[in-house]
Symmetry: C2
Subunit: 220 residues, 2 copies
């Protein structure tokens, strides 16, 4: 699958890109600076192998079948409006967590209800919108280690969510359907709670796990 | 500790009351009807032992040191305004999940940001406000079984949260500090996600677990 990553030189974007390239996907790592993206992509390819190259955010979105945004909340509006045209008709995965410094341990959801719904507004009609990868510890994902914890995938279109659940698996994580796009508020808000728990309980990257005897939908 | 439970004849209130009485607390199980509350309290005492009695919601709040509200979202305003005077100066634990039927699998947080902040508005100044027990499977808690999963405890006052973390432990659950009251949005929203997961993955009461090597704050 051709995956374009907006904000691909950040910790989460680079870690996901590296893992997806290693799993056999073609990855276009985007950044405002194609040079920076190329440097990061070269490093990832040298270490993990696979088909990954750096380019601009816009070109990454144009080349991709699936567009993944890993830009920070403060840059979300500007970056997404730049690539909105190129994302039309494609599956879009927003990974934005609405952290508002300096109070990042306090839940501050945007007026739209969630950063995912806010992103949908910037992209306009015709994008197959999903959100995921909110509470993944990026510094762990950047290593070869097994990363425990679950990735909740939100979106109103089940077929689009299915693709993203699969991409979570390809990155070595367990993806779970979490319901419609407004449900993204749960995972986004939980990220501030996890940051609070990291500090309070001196954890290096607390994560979320859904417990219970889950039966795969396809097996139903 | 003297614990008053508002909406104590519902599934969650009765299950918590039974477990707390068994653990040695004095429990005032409140309801609109003192007779209904007495019947439920008698059944719990017969089965689990301990000091538990039924009464009205108002009397339960008056007698208690800690007031716990287990009323449904639709009744939250009316029930809390009735007992607001009696809750002054006390630790208050709101367990309300803002489910809006028929779409209970869809996150629909109230305008205040969370049901906990909404409750704070109904109670007024001078209550030691916390929220907890949002995503506990009440039908499991009603049995003698060990219930896995974590209880996130929110509130702006750490000392009040400490008491509620302890009460979670007394009910056989792991309580964890989750940060300030606005962070309650995370656990409240997650409940709709868990209901969605129950249906999608055919789980009997999916739960939430925080993973990572947590160090108890007191040991720090």
């Amino acid at each position: 699958m051709k995956i374009g990553i907006i904000g691909g030189t950040g910790k989460l974007g680079a870690a996901l890109g590296g893992r997806w390239a290693k799993a056999g996907h073609t990855v276009f790592l985007g950044s405002r600076s194609a040079d920076s993206a190329t440097a990061v992509a070269d490093e990832l390819r040298g270490r993990l192998g696979g088909d990954i190259a750096g380019t601009t955010n816009l070109e990454a979105a144009r080349q991709a079948e699936v567009v993944v945004s890993c830009v920070p909340f403060s840059a979300q509006e500007e970056r997404l409006k730049e690539i909105a045209e190129a994302a039309k008709g494609k599956i879009f995965v927003d990974c934005t967590v609405p952290l508002v410094p300096p109070r990042v341990m306090r839940v501050q959801l945007p007026a739209e209800g969630s950063a995912a719904q806010r992103a949908e507004g910037f992209l306009g009609e015709g994008v197959r919108m999903t959100s995921a990868f909110h509470s993944v510890a990026a510094h762990k994902l950047a290593t070869d280690a097994t990363v425990p914890g679950d990735v909740l995938v939100f979106g109103d279109e089940k077929a689009a969510r299915d693709v993203v659940v699969g991409l979570a698996g390809d990155a070595g994580l367990r993806g779970l359907h979490g319901g419609g796009l407004p449900n993204s508020a749960a995972a986004e808000a939980l990220t501030s709670v996890l940051i609070f728990i990291n500090k309070t309980y001196r954890v290096d990257g607390a994560g979320l796990s859904i417990i219970g005897d889950l039966v795969e939908p396809d097996a139903a």
